[in-house]
């Protein structure tokens, strides 16, 4: 009878959410039009998506708008996700980052060169935003690994990733030659990958 009891579990028990669903599994379900899976995926990735966009764009209203576009895009193009080419989280973050960067560049095109030179100096208070939720293991690990890079690697990577600068803009901000900046970006990412052990994650 034990077997039968398991197979005929009451509905409300099976509805209790899996404490740690895999974003990749959820994304595959989303590709099949599963709105419940999408809602759970939202809960898993929205703070990263929003946080990243906000970090790049700074303006909360614009960030919310772009985050909505990105999350709707995840729903729309979930079928394009290919687990052989990376994790679901990375796929989603790639879309989010690209959108945020596109938006910040189109804003930059309309503003003075000086504005983005100024950005480097106003960066500091934004750590306060990132600190809203503290003590998360992944964040500590990322910080530790970023700290592990050389100064030039770290600056090249973070000016590009968190502020949406192109590598020529980064070169200008850092007063470094273009080939150096390109190499530092690549080496910084390789070192980051090795430190995070991200290469091993499917």
């Amino acid at each position: 009878m034990a077997e039968r009891g398991t197979s005929r579990r009451p509905e409300h028990l099976s509805a209790v959410p899996d404490p740690d669903p895999d974003p990749g599994d959820l994304l595959r379900a989303v590709a099949g039009g599963d709105e419940k899976a999408f809602a759970r995926l939202y809960d898993l990735v929205a703070p990263r998506v929003y946080g990243l966009i906000r970090r790049v764009l700074r303006d909360p209203a614009q960030s919310e708008e772009v985050a909505q576009e990105v999350l709707v895009e995840v729903w729309r193009s979930a079928a394009r996700f290919d687990p052989a080419r990376g994790s679901a989280t990375s796929w989603i973050c790639t879309i989010a980052h690209r959108r945020a960067v596109d938006r910040v560049r189109s804003e930059q095109a309309a503003s003075e060169r000086l504005t983005y030179v100024g950005r480097a100096q106003v960066d500091v208070p934004y750590d306060a935003v990132a600190d809203e939720v503290s003590g998360r293991l992944e964040r500590q690990q990322v910080r530790r690994c970023l700290h592990d890079l050389t100064d030039l690697q770290r600056e090249a990577v973070t000016l590009a990733y968190y502020q949406g600068h192109t590598y020529p803009q980064v070169a200008e901000l850092l007063g470094a030659p273009l080939p150096t900046v390109k190499t530092r970006m690549r080496d910084g990412l390789i070192r980051l990958r090795d430190c995070l052990g991200a290469g091993a994650v499917a």
Partner: protein
Amino acid sequence: MNTADVHTLLGPYVLDAVDDIERAAFDRHLRECDACRADVSELREASARLADGAWSVPPPGLRDNVLAAIGSVRQIAPISPAPAPAPATAPARSSRRLRLVSAAAAVVVAAAGAATAAYTLQDHRVRVEQARAEAAQAAESRVRALLASPDLVVKEEPVTGGGRVTVATSKLHDAGVIMLAADAAPSDGRVFQLWTIRSAVPIPEGTLAPGQTAAVQIVEGMGQASDVGVSVEPPGGSKTPTTPLAADVKL
């Protein structure tokens, strides 16, 4: 850009620190280089972890808005064997978009170049040209935002006498961009004029200068338009289009 040059863009490419042209060059390179695709995937895993460092609680309304929005968004069907190189857009579309952005950028660059030359002129002319350059910059960022919209629809028709007109529209923005690139200006000093047809009524959307063969024009409220037309008119344009049209794009 040769292969060795392109390959140095690996780091900037993964960080989205390249411009549209470099990105397209690198995407092409990726299609031919299995090892590079593996590198990109691995480094993307690492760069995506940087998003952990930006973790921030989203505004409370976002969840409801997103969940409400997906109700009306049709999902794309899985593409059979080969996945697109860029996760967000299909290759055909991104190269098309690149071409559009480049065309728009070329026109804007030309406008900015004209503005630079004008600085040697008298003061008030400088101010006029400066205002024009600013307007051109604002237009360019609007064009970019439009071309980046997820629901972009692109239509293209040849222009009589050579060249083509491309119309990109977005329902989300309720706007569109008309891009005209004719091979030659109309004869006898006549000019090209752009139109939208809304409820069978032609609305003038801009007239090119004599000798001008290319233009990028933003049109707001594109939602009601059924057609975009290009006509050949006397200098300064006309109130209604002269037929036959040099091009007619059905939307």
